[in-house]
């Protein structure tokens, strides 16, 4: 009676082994949590599992890509023409600004040379597609389609056409995870563009709001001030727009003003963003890699 046997095998309780396995797996999970929270020694494991998730992401992303492709191919001729005209005029404008920019850049580097300051290099920029946004509402994390194979590195800055979006926190081979500046865990060193006042912009968990909690009541900051990256954290290149101050609340009883700002990048609408290769950091990375290689050679020698 094979049917009866399978029924019984499904029903047979195996509670002792189950309890033991449960305790083991729970303990292992807690161990992983602690290791991951203390320091990130699990990056290789994450990358390996991430590789198995990659095909799923591609499949999940397929309807959106197909929809975009279909709407592009079926777009009417007049739509395309108007878009073409718009892009043409935009291109003219940006070109005009670029001409000025190169003159300004030359002037800037001349002035910097006169002041004996270090040269500001032009950053290399490349476009990446967003594959998915974190489905965990507690974290503002997204996945892009560029990985270590394309030269992406941890801590790399991500921007869109209007401002800073976030930075890379974990690189896989083909895709990487980035954290948005609005994530509650993220802090970004910024300065007020008007007067160079330095502070830190903290994420709040809301896409439209950053907090600047460390400004004294007498700090020179106003509504509509533009905040740009200061480059002092070492991760972000300096001078990219971050947010515009939306409210300054002064409370004489507190020692700090309550300042909040709205990110200029459309954090929850981007589908494409740009990665910045900052030359200094890339050199640092290379130097670090060489150090690592040297160390491993030494170990081999021993």
């Amino acid at each position: 009676m094979p049917a009866a046997r399978t029924e019984r095998s499904h029903r047979a309780p195996h509670s002792r082994a189950l309890g033991l396995r449960f305790s083991l797996l729970a303990a292992l999970s807690i161990l992983l949590l602690v290791i991951d929270y203390r320091d990130n020694h699990l990056d290789t494991v994450r990358t390996a599992i991430g590789a198995t998730v990659y095909p799923l992401r591609v499949v999940v992303d397929a309807p959106v890509s197909v929809w975009r492709w279909a709407s592009e191919t079926t777009a009417s001729r007049s739509d395309l023409q108007t878009e073409n005209e718009r892009l043409h005029s935009e291109r003219l404008l940006t070109h005009a600004r670029l001409q000025q920019l190169s003159a300004l850049e030359a002037e800037n580097s001349r002035l910097r040379a006169m002041l004996d300051a270090t040269h500001r290099v032009r950053d290399e920029v490349r476009v990446a597609q967003i594959m998915s946004v974190s489905s965990d509402p507690f974290r503002h994390v997204l996945v892009i389609d560029k990985g270590s194979r394309d030269g992406v590195y941890d801590g790399q800055a991500m921007i869109d056409d209007s401002g800073v979006v976030g930075q890379i926190i974990q690189t896989g081979l083909l895709s990487s995870q980035g954290i948005l500046i609005s994530d509650p865990d993220h802090a970004l060193p910024v300065e007020v563009n008007r007067n160079g006042l330095r502070t830190v912009a903290l994420g709040t968990g809301k896409y439209e709001r950053l907090d600047l909690p460390f400004l004294a009541n007498n700090a020179d900051i106003r509504v509509d001030d533009l905040l740009v990256t200061s480059g002092l954290g070492g991760e972000f290149p300096a001078g990219y727009p971050v947010a515009v101050v939306t409210s300054v609340i002064l409370n004489p009883q507190e020692s700090f003003a309550e300042v909040s700002a709205k990110p200029v990048a459309a954090l929850n609408q981007v589908r494409e963003l740009m990665l910045i290769w900052n030359e200094a950091t890339e050199e640092e990375v290379e130097a670090r890699n060489q150090d690592d290689a040297g160390e491993s050679e030494e170990v081999q020698d021993e």
């Binding site: 095998s9 499904h10 029903r11 047979a12 309780p13 195996h14 509670s15 189950l18 396995r21 449960f22 797996l25 729970a26 292992l28 999970s29 807690i30 161990l31 992983l32 949590l33 290791i35 991951d36 929270y37 699990l42 494991v45 994450r46 599992i49 991430g50 198995t52 998730v53 799923l56 992401r57 499949v59 999940v60 992303d61 959106v64 998915s132 946004v133 974190s134 489905s135 965990d136 509402p137 507690f138 974290r139 994390v141 996945v143 926190i169 974990q170 995870q177 509650p184 865990d185 968990g205 896409y207 929850n268």
Partner: protein, 163 residues
Amino acid sequence: MSNDSASRRLPILTCIVASLMLAIAPMPGWAEAYRPDWVPLTLIFWSMLLPRTYSIGWAWIIGLILDVAQGTLFGQHALALVLIVYITVKFHLQIRVFPMLQMTATVFALLALYQFILFWINGVAGINSPAVAYWGPVLTGTIVWPLLSTIYGGIRYSARSSG
């Protein structure tokens, strides 16, 4: 026999993979907090029906995949899933024969426990978030459970009759 079990396993594996895909599918911002907990729902159903095959080992591995996919602390979803699947397997004989209303209530309790574990670990790690982000998935998950269990029941029935 092996062929038989393979043909029986395939539909269930498809369900699990589909639930993972639903869990990482992009959604508009406002709906993000109300995404049902597809993966726990799927694992509750199959571990309740086939506790020998789909038990806490599966839950742990799928939890780790979910952790990587969602960029949470490594082991967070794994721990929460292992706990609720353990409870499901432990009481699968009772839960299996519950009437639909009572079973839905049980699923509500399990999902609440699942979200509580996630909330607790986030709290210990110092990650704050609004309360709706925890309650939304529990409510929508409970609402979709009757429909989901009916679909899965159909899948199981057809898999059995063909295998």
